[in-house]
């Protein structure tokens, strides 16, 4: 596959603070890359360097064969970028703003109105097109940011927390937009929501304290999460100990945590050895034990716990 975005030993220092520390990665056409990490991990700083807003302290960024430092305008013209919080000129109407972006993105005058119409329809902005941006809701503002990023149909799309602060319907809409555009482009999004990685990303990297901690397909990454594939069973508190002793005998069950859930029920959380799937065995054993249980489910893993571990194990020097 054709590599379109390449980061090579990229670093960014702010004074003595190292925001991005030697990140190298390549993204090919058709990939949707998710940047995962706690706040302040260096996700936005990395994206800002790729988008040409910040100059790297060392290392290079190459987009479609152009170096971001040597030829920033060529790089910027190939990127659609939505900054965190999608700041846009609030004193303008949506139409005037998009028209300004289309103009400066070099869309010819006779094609401009048509292109704006297409994007507005795609992003569902018809209702607010002649309203001033400062009176729009957060969801609409985010969509305006999205619209300006795709108006010139760029080969590379960089979206910094595209669904942050949106309601579930809007999130769904943004995700389906990303999916729809994915085959044609390189899309890089940042997020700290696990379901988003599962929903849209073909690949994910974890960034913590400026370093690249993990890089792989979304599934491979999920399997590294703490508590991935843990199986939870809810049963009556009275029979919990009984069940626990039975489940402990299953091969592949590493450890069982018991949590009191109130109202006379307890939850048994079976942690697998090596992240293997133990749902079948646990449910089989539970059923054959004859002890009644009301719920059984498999955990996908917990990104928050992972983020906390990153922040703690890396020395806790966090940048807000």
């Amino acid at each position: 596959m054709e590599t379109m975005v390449e980061l090579d030993h990229l670093s960014k220092h702010f004074g003595s603070f190292v925001a991005v520390d030697d990140i190298s990665l390549q993204v090919a056409k058709g990939e949707v890359l998710g940047f995962l990490g706690p706040n302040g991990a260096g996700k936005s700083t990395t994206m800002r360097m790729v988008a040409g807003f910040l100059t790297p302290t060392s290392g290079t960024v190459t987009v479609c064969g152009h170096d971001v430092v040597d030829d920033p305008v060529a790089v910027k013209s190939r990127i659609g970028y939505m900054a965190e919080g999608s700041p846009s000129y609030e004193d303008m109407t949506v139409r005037a703003f998009l028209s300004f972006i289309a103009d400066i993105r070099g869309i010819p005058k006779n094609a401009r109105a048509g292109r704006i119409g297409e994007v507005v329809e795609k992003i569902a902005l018809e209702e607010v097109i002649d309203r001033s941006i400062d009176v729009l809701s957060k969801g609409y503002k985010r969509r305006v940011g999205m619209a300006q990023a795709i108006i010139h149909d760029p080969p590379v799309l960089i979206l910094d927390e595209p669904t942050d602060g949106l309601d579930p319907n809007q999130k769904h809409h943004v995700r389906s937009l990303i999916e729809e555009m994915a085959p044609e482009k390189v899309i890089i999004i940042s997020t700290h929501i696990l379901e988003e990685v599962e929903a849209v990303c073909s690949r994910a990297v974890i960034i913590g304290n400026g370093k690249l901690l993990a890089d792989g397909t979304a599934d491979a990454l999920l399997s590294q999460l703490p508590d991935h594939n843990a199986v939870c069973i809810v049963t009556a508190a009275a029979s919990a100990n009984d069940l626990k002793s039975k489940l402990q005998l299953i091969e592949g069950v590493d450890k069982i945590d018991q949590v009191d859930r109130g109202e006379g029920t307890a939850q048994l959380r079976c942690l697998p050895a090596n992240g293997m799937s133990i749902l079948d065995r646990v449910s089989e054993a539970a059923r054959s034990s004859g002890i009644a249980f009301t719920e059984i489910y498999q955990d996908r893993g917990d990104l928050d716990t992972m983020f906390r571990q990153i922040t703690v194990t890396e020395g806790g020097s966090r940048h807000a």
Partner: protein, 244 residues
């Protein structure tokens, strides 16, 4: 050039999106009238010139031009739109010059709206229209130079008030540097060439020489190179401060 013009258009849109632009122009025109007719004693002079009118421009600009320039970059940084602006396929210089151009056009239109004063003097007497045209041009040039200082100060901070005060202070230094008040301070000890150099950076001295009716090449070069210098400094400031 094309990009600069697109940026300038957007910026002008920003100026006129609120009533502030019209209020500013009204104040500018009213103050010009007040200074010319009352403080400048236009009628008592009994001369068909606009000398009184133009002589107040450096002092008016000292306060009004930084007010126009203060939002240029400080606001972009405060609202975060600078990230939007500088990830568009333009250079920082495009953005700096485009914004300056918009502010300059805005000041130019305010200046043009003082035309009733010219009509008045033409009605009352027979003024030298060549001198008036040259003086208008000189005033416009000076506004551009003040604006470029304001642009640089605005790029250094995200606080518009700070930008305003800093720009006024720097503009004040460049205005005052030709006056004896300042030069006397140096005369006691500084060599002659230094005093000449300081006097030569004065907007006031340059502008007064233009309002006599002649644009000398060196005055033109002075104002243009002032703009080039301060806009270059703005570009450096924007590039180095954008992330802060």
């Amino acid at each position: 050039m094309r990009n600069m013009w697109i940026i300038a258009k957007r910026e002008l849109y920003g100026y006129f999106a609120t009533p502030m632009a019209f209020i500013f122009i009204a104040i500018f025109v009213a103050l010009n009238g007040a200074f010319t007719f009352y403080i400048g004693r236009f009628f008592d002079r009994g001369q068909a010139t606009l000398e009184a009118f133009f002589s107040f421009h450096p002092w008016l600009y000292l306060l009004l031009v930084p007010a126009v320039a203060m939002r240029l970059w400080a606001e972009e940084r405060k609202s975060g739109t600078i990230e939007q602006l500088l990830t568009l396929p333009i250079t920082t210089a495009d953005a700096v010059v485009g914004k300056h151009l918009a502010a300059w056009i805005f000041c130019g239109s305010a200046l043009a709206l003082t035309f009733p004063i010219w009509i008045t003097v033409s009605y009352l007497g027979d003024p030298d229209n060549g001198v008036i045209a040259v003086s208008y041009f000189g005033s416009f040039l000076m506004a551009g130079a003040f604006l470029s200082i304001g642009s640089c100060m605005s790029a250094l901070t995200r606080n518009q008030i700070v930008a305003f005060i800093a720009a006024s202070a720097v503009c004040f230094i460049f205005t005052m540097s030709g006056l004896d008040l300042v030069l006397n301070f140096f005369r006691g000890w500084a060599p002659g060439f230094l005093i000449d150099a300081i006097a030569a950076t004065s907007f006031l001295v340059r502008f007064e020489s233009i309002t006599r009716g002649v644009i000398e090449l060196r005055d033109l070069i002075f104002f243009l190179s002032m703009m080039v210098f301060w806009l270059f400094a703005s570009t450096v400031a924007v590039d180095s401060k954008k992330a802060a």
